[in-house]
């Protein structure tokens, strides 16, 4: 399950960077692409605007086949206050731009990729390709929510993968 989550994050991040390399976020002094997984960050960093914040939940596990099939719900939350030079009056346009970026990153085919195991990165080794794939649904967009001076939205999609033997 963790490998599928990591793999989808890496794919989505590379697609978003290709679409808009200027969408970045500064976290603990380092400029990074504007996509982060909330559970992998300090709790103090989760409300950053103008970036995509991913959240995971297990939706269903099916043990009918040869390998368990796991479907995970991925919530992607984002918000913007617009630009200060425009007094925030462009916040609707910037939210629409983020909608378009996310859709362009998630929806195009192929919506599948080789599952990777990234555990080796912690000790300086390379990621290892696994035998099965990760695939995902189209993205669906939630209502626009007003949060003080920000406009926010939560988009959702389902990520699926087979659980290989010995996987976490």
């Amino acid at each position: 399950m963790q490998n599928a989550k990591d793999t989808f994050y890496e794919v989505l991040r590379s697609r978003l960077v290709a679409l808009n390399p200027y969408r970045t976020v500064v976290l603990r002094g380092v400029v990074r692409p504007g996509l982060l997984v909330e559970e992998n960050e300090l709790v103090t960093t989760v409300a950053l605007p103008d970036c995509f914040r991913m959240r995971w939940a297990v939706k269903a596990v099916s043990a009918d086949g040869a390998m368990p099939l796991i479907a995970m719900e991925c919530e992607i939350e984002y918000e913007t206050a617009g630009t200060a030079i425009n007094g925030g009056m462009d916040r609707g346009r910037l939210l629409a731009a983020m909608d378009a970026e996310l859709q362009a990153a998630v929806d195009p085919l192929p919506r599948t990729t080789q599952k990777m195991n990234y555990v080796g990165l912690a000790s300086g080794a390379a990621a290892v390709a696994m035998t099965t794939s990760v695939w995902w649904s189209e993205v669906t967009f939630g209502q626009t929510v007003v949060k003080d001076d920000r406009l926010a939205r939560t988009a959702m999609l389902t990520v699926m993968a087979y659980q290989e033997a010995g996987e976490l």
Binding site: D6, Y9, E10, R13, L27, R28, G29, V30, V31, R32, L36, V37, E39, N40, L42, V43, T44, Y118, V119, L121, A122
Partner: protein, 122 residues
């Protein structure tokens, strides 16, 4: 005013607390972004500081001279950035999350900081 605030904090039994700060992230490090590696943390002492409990809200009043010293020595832009960057405050071995920061000012200068704290869920 700053010296007066420090003196009052000491007189009411002000104590030292530790601000836990994460080390800067490693540039382009996928292991950190995937939650495989954690940053290193450093604890810096702030004091004198005194607790204030009212309406179930725990607040800590911290000397602005101590905060200024840390902001200057670690090259933060401001006290607000320092507290936003921090993981929390370590008090008697317990890590408290900082949920709000307010600088009490006189003549354009902060003489102390009020930090609203949230205790860990047990």
């Amino acid at each position: 005013m700053i010296r007066l605030a420090d003196a009052v904090l000491r007189a009411v039994g002000g104590r030292g607390v530790f601000l836990r700060l994460p080390a800067p992230a490693a540039s382009g490090d996928d292991a950190e972004q995937l939650g495989l590696a954690s940053p290193e943390f450093q604890d810096v002492e702030l004091g004198p500081a005194a607790f204030h409990n009212a309406n179930s809200v725990t607040k800590l009043m911290v000397s602005s001279s101590a905060v200024r010293a840390v902001v200057g020595s670690l090259a933060y832009d401001s006290a607000e950035v320092l507290f936003e960057t921090a993981v929390g405050l370590v008090i008697d071995g317990v890590l408290y999350e900082i949920t709000d920061t307010v600088g009490a000012e006189a003549m354009g200068q902060a003489y102390c900081y009020w930090l609203t704290l949230r205790a860990p869920v047990r």
